[in-house]
Amino acid sequence: MDQTLIEQEKAKLPGNRLVSSDNVTEYTTLNLGPIHPATHGVFQNVLTMDGEIVIDSEQTVGYIHRAFEKIAERRPYYQITPLTDRLNYCSSPINNMGWYMTVEKLLGVELPKRVHYMRVIIMELARISDHLVCNSVIGVDTGALTGFTYVFQWREKIYDIFEQICGSRLTTNIGRIGGMERDFNDEVFRLLKNFLRDFPKVFTEFSNLLERNRIFFDRTVNTGPISGERALNYGFTGPNLRAAGIDYDVRVANPYSSYQDFDFQIPIGQNGDTYDRFMVRQGEILESLKIIQQALDNMPPGKFFADVPEFYLPPKEDVYNNMEALIWHFKIVMGETDVPKGEVYHAVEGGNGELGYYLVSDGGRAPYKLHFRRPCFIFYQAYPEMIRGGMLSDAVVTLSSMNVIAGELDG
């Protein structure tokens, strides 16, 4: 073959690799996953590799598909909450609250202000723990384990607060349709105060480890970039969309749960690369702390549940001593209360973006149709486009910076 043609072909390829004289490039097929410690979940990517460069990727999803939408068609409304826990299990309280708000929207329930503020505190704590996991894992994938082990203690402290509020830690089932299951006790306020006092210092230390770190820059800047336009076309939401420069946040666009009362910023990035995604999450943690502080300072007095005896369980001592309460208790637990017919779409800002619930009710005890708009499922399809032409090690970092959670992916 013509020698100049070979030289031209050589020049096109990244790096300084040799091309054989017959100009044939051999591609390797590599299975990344489904079980691989670097993918933090059950994802399979069949990569086509040219040396260490990713040429293309084919994704397989559905390894932990649990058919929640089918199960939900047979469950009374209150039994669907534990299913939502298992979508994005890094921030299950947000999923729980989103589901309650959807049902409350269907029923037309007006909540007391105190419930909104309590929910905001819980949701923002969940957002902090979600982003902490994601950001510290980006550190792990770039070779910095210290930050991860350090902030995980503080995720534990957030879980301690959840445990005080509802009794469970990871899959929380926190709150009820129509309010919260109980008021915050003094211990919750004490833990919250301690958290707000001590966490910012820890977080600054964590930020100092990574934010201006040369090695971290080299690994994250310009890896896995996506433009704002493509991100929007791919249905990105949440931190991944904001890193690409589009300031869409459901909390601001369609405020729910009294988010309009709070003063906070939406951090955005520019390039939509791994570093921007990391920095947007870092910024959001600080904003969440601000929101929690405001909610605590302005916590309104009053009841922690709405006046909806048809859907909110009566107190246990009333059930034992009061006929009417016993009847309501029985009817709620058996799912015998009437629900209006209608269709509702409600979205909340989950850890990964717009978590939507599309609920169709035919008046029966279970939804006629329930669809979860799972942000991970929608933005993960852009992954091949984002890693194409990059190194394999960058593909792993990109995956963790997108914060793809297997539970939310597979539904």
Binding site: V61, G62, E73, G235, E343
Partner: protein, 168 residues
């Protein structure tokens, strides 16, 4: 930020598509229209390109099954959003279960790819022109569409469980 009302949106849709917009509702503040399935791609493209409406964001696609509606058993539901105008729109297209075919939206929104695969996987809706229409969440060998209402959640061969005590 220009504010667009649901009434204005419906008027524009009626002007552009006339009788193809079969009916319109406003449940819980979101405009919800039923359209002729044949115009779905034209409508999505028009909504996407329109200088005022700017529905650049496809929130969601899902399906639904209504066995009692003759020749309109399956429904494909599109949720769209215009971020600049902060307005949402729901579009429904009913299809007969004997021939559930509709044009794919992947040419307008890249995000439609997996959403349509999921809808195919659950309900068996065929999206014509889809680049890779195969099952996504369930196993490839599955020969039925599990979210259709004729498939009960519980094992249908069991006799020890009565439906009326365990849900529908």
């Amino acid at each position: 930020m220009s504010a667009i009302t649901n009434e204005f949106l419906l008027e524009r849709l009626n002007q552009e598509f006339g009788a193809k917009v079969i009916s319109a509702e406003l449940p819980y503040g979101m405009l919800s229209i039923v359209i002729d399935p044949s115009v779905i791609v034209d409508m999505l493209k028009w909504l996407h390109e329109d200088k005022i409406l700017k529905f650049r964001f496809l929130t969601d696609i899902c399906g639904s099954h209504y066995p009692d509606l003759k020749d309109k058993e399956l429904c494909v539901i599109y949720h769209l959003q215009s971020m600049e105008n902060n307005i949402r729109l729901r579009i429904k297209a009913f299809l007969p279960v004997s021939n559930p075919e509709i044009q794919t939206a992947t040419s307008v929104y890249s995000s439609a790819n997996w959403m349509e695969r999921e809808t195919y996987d659950y309900y068996g809706v065929i999206f014509k022109g889809h680049p890779n229409l195969k099952r996504i969440l369930n196993v490839d060998e599955m020969d039925y569409f599990p979210l259709r209402k004729e498939y009960p959640l519980e094992d249908a061969t069991r006799t020890d469980k009565e439906d009326q005590y365990f849900g529908r």
